[in-house]
């Protein structure tokens, strides 16, 4: 009983540890990656006892700065909602990661431990429910600030996120139809099968179109450049214009956590989740017949490592997009969401359905 509780706690703790640390380090990754892309060095001055470690202390220094700054409350703000908004925002993005599997089940003795914080058979719906609830944090922030710029920013954010969420929901339907499950663990498991005997049946192979649609809509839902029209760090004022100190920091953290969640979702749905190509539960089975046996613990370690690596690669790609493309105008983003992504996602569902129908059963 105690052990069961401990295992459940460990699963949740691992996911929280992973998400929070990745999110914290993303600020550094963002600075350094953009610097290297632009032939610069990037922030490298924060030091502890003369030790700089390539600027790794900058997130720490930033957090310290935000924690010690004045926590300003506008005079006419709605006190409860104003304080609640950043917490709601960061909470829903944090819990969204919970049903993303980071490995197959691990067998220790007679125990079967699913490597997932919570095992849900409707995992996808849970993730999108949580991500959609994040809109409330943004809207609350915009409304409660008693500032017209913040209100307009919140309205832009809500409009953008709703138009993106619909496209996300429609674009993953193709994946759900193909693998026949709403459970992220089931989808990840199904991606271990092979197509024509040698291509791993990852989502990006069988649903490449859905991958592009999902990635675009996902970036829009996380409100990152090129879809940062609600905030517009450099020019426009966003919904958090009245926030300062750590409350502002929590909105920044929401961005980072949502990026991590998006990378995790892309990995689970399209990049095979925790799958390593040709790795089955008892070792590698290469298509040319070679079999390399591995113990269950080794297999689980490889799976978790594979998941983490894929998430890292996805984050790299997301950052690359963020530092390459210019911002969309508000009307362009709306047109892209409603007249571009949404109809194309519906088309993808229709084509996928037709293919599945023509092949008889699920292949």
């Amino acid at each position: 009983m105690i052990l069961d509780f401990g295992i459940a706690f460990g699963r949740v703790a691992f996911v929280m540890f992973f998400v929070l640390n990745v999110a914290a380090i993303l600020g550094w990754v963002e600075r350094k990656q953009s610097a290297i892309m632009q032939d610069r060095i990037g922030a490298n001055r924060a030091s502890i006892f003369g030790l700089r470690v390539m600027g790794l202390f900058h997130p720490l220094a930033d957090t310290l700065k935000m924690l010690t700054k004045e926590d300003f409350l506008p005079a006419r703000a709605d006190r409860l909602l104003f304080v609640l908004a950043p917490f709601a925002s960061v909470f829903f993005s944090l819990v969204a990661f919970a049903s993303i599997p980071f490995g197959d089940t691990l067998r220790v003795g007679d125990r079967v431990i699913p490597l997932q914080a919570i095992t849900l058979n409707v995992g996808i719906l849970y993730v999108f429910a949580m991500l959609s609830l994040g809109v409330y944090g943004v809207m609350m922030a915009g409304w409660s600030s008693a500032n017209n710029y913040a209100l307009l920013g919140g309205q832009r954010a809500a409009a953008l996120m709703i138009s993106a969420e619909i496209a996300i929901g429609a674009s993953i339907m193709g994946v759900v139809m193909w693998y026949g499950s709403l459970s992220l663990q089931e989808i990840a498991r199904a991606q271990g099968e092979l197509l024509f005997g040698w291509i791993p049946k990852w989502g990006i192979v069988v649903q490449p179109f859905a991958f592009i649609l999902f990635l675009t809509a996902g970036i829009a839902a996380t409100k990152r450049i090129p879809f940062d029209l609600p905030e517009g760090e450099s020019e426009i004022i966003g919904y958090f214009v009245e926030y300062s100190g750590m409350k502002f920091g929590m909105f920044l953290m929401t961005d980072m956590v949502e990026t991590t969640v998006l990378a995790g979702l892309c990995t689970s749905l399209f990049l095979g989740g925790w799958q390593v190509p040709y790795l089955l539960a008892d070792g590698f089975h290469f298509p040319w017949g070679t079999v390399v046996g591995l113990g269950p613990l080794m297999v689980s370690l490889l799976q978790v490592g594979s998941f983490v690596t894929k998430v890292a690669v996805m984050i790299f790609v997301l950052m690359l997009i963020r530092w390459t493309l210019p911002r969309f105008r508000y009307d362009q983003a709306m047109r892209l969401g409603w007249l571009g992504l949404f109809p194309l996602s519906i088309l993808n569902i229709v084509v996928t359905g037709a293919v599945l129908l023509a092949w008889g059963a699920r292949p």
Partner: protein, 179 residues
């Protein structure tokens, strides 16, 4: 706009290829640098206070007053520099020199660097080659206007920059600087 451009995806991919190319090219150089290839530079950044760009040999930097062999200023207080100065930042008070062949010397020679435009006219106008702008010192600043006024003694104490352009004398600090 052509249809391919309207679709935007091709342009996105070509942009990503460009930036990713920069990333991996620079990353390779950074790694080579870390592995011991000191000539590999992954960034064009010069980290200013730690490393400096070489100065051009004719760059006009902080003024100095050239000394005679006995240490007295070569300046004869002819007021040429004060006259030609477009910013009117030079203030000279003349005095009699003990040597009758030299006749005059400055009692005061103040340059208000807050006004100076570093045109170099004073150097050009000087008939005695008594003022030069070759110290290589670029970082002089002050919290007050008084602190920007450099006197004769300070200007006389300065040395010319070395052959590599590195200043050989420290930045002089005015005696009455408040902060």
């Amino acid at each position: 706009m052509r249809l391919a451009q309207r679709f935007y995806l091709r342009e996105v991919v070509s942009g990503l290829v460009l930036t990713a190319g920069h990333f991996f090219h620079n990353m390779g150089k950074h790694i080579a640098h870390a592995l011991g290839r000191r000539d590999a530079r992954g960034a064009v950044t010069i980290q200013y206070p730690d490393e400096r760009r070489p100065l051009a040999p004719r760059l006009r930097s902080l003024h100095r007053l050239v000394r005679r062999e006995d240490g007295s200023p070569r300046c004869v207080a002819c007021m040429m520099c004060e006259t030609i100065c477009p910013a009117r930042c030079i203030y000279i008070v003349a005095d009699e020199h003990p040597n009758p062949e030299i006749e005059k010397m400055p009692e005061r020679f103040d340059i208000d660097l807050g006004k100076c435009v570093f045109c170099g006219f004073c150097v050009e106008a000087c008939p005695e080659d008594a003022i030069r702008m070759d110290t290589g010192i670029l970082e002089f600043s002050s919290y007050s206007r008084r602190g920007m006024i450099y006197t004769k003694e300070m200007l006389l104490a300065l040395e010319p920059a070395g052959p590599d352009g590195v200043p050989r004398s420290p930045v002089p600090i005015p005696a009455d600087r408040t902060v």
